[in-house]
Amino acid sequence: DVKVTQSSRYLVKRTGEKVFLECVQDMDHENMFWYRQDPGLGLRLIYFSYDVKMKEKGDIPEGYSVSREKKERFSLILESASTNQTSMYLCASSDSGTGDYEQYFGPGTRLTVT
């Protein structure tokens, strides 16, 4: 089974702190994604990566950056956390070779910025 893990289920940070959210997948997937999920807004794509050291902006990249130094790991960085970044963050991965296109999701990190 594909396994996508995220470093924390719950995280509380203060305004202005630098925050790192880590995601690891164990299926050698090329593609990795970061979403935020807010009530009434569904899932919105923040950043994605199709290969190591490669990144592309999604629909709402402002205030975020990402890092992908290894194929299995994709990190989301909040350079200076703000209260409007309080949200559920979901990581996902998918295989580009099979044409499957299914995305496999991690359990999510619920981030609260106070």
Binding site: F33, G42, L45, E56, G58, L90, S96, E102, F105, G106
Partner: protein, 115 residues
């Protein structure tokens, strides 16, 4: 840009009954993929069912089936013999056919199942 619309924020169904969740989308592409994902409370999002636009036959997975109407750009999910474990948030999603296409999600619908 593609959009996915789930107009009903909540639905309720009696256990063992059938329920249909609606989804419409907008695209100018002719080849694409549609998905329904399920997110149980405090649990990971999982794929329920997938439909390729070039296939005329509606996808089915056990108690889950879709009604795919390409011309109407409609993609509804039917859950038969509803079970308590079906209670979850359900998201409809669209993906273009390009190699690096992204998933576009609807806002989701919360399904509750009454015992």
């Amino acid at each position: 840009a593609q959009t996915v619309t789930q107009s009903q924020p909540e639905m309720s169904v009696q256990e063992a009954e059938t329920v249909t969740l609606s989804c419409t989308y907008d695209t100018s592409e002719s080849d694409y993929y549609l998905f329904w994902y399920k997110q149980p409370p405090s649990r990971q999002m999982i794929l329920v069912i997938r439909q390729e636009a070039y296939k005329q036959q509606n996808a089915t997975e056990n108690r889950f089936s879709v009604n795919f109407q390409k011309a109407a750009k409609s993609f509804s999910l039917k859950i038969s013999d509803s079970q308590l474990g079906d209670a979850a948030m359900y998201f409809c999603a669209y993906r273009g056919s390009g190699a690096n296409s992204k998933l576009t999600f609807g806002k989701g619908i919360t399904l509750s199942v009454r015992p």
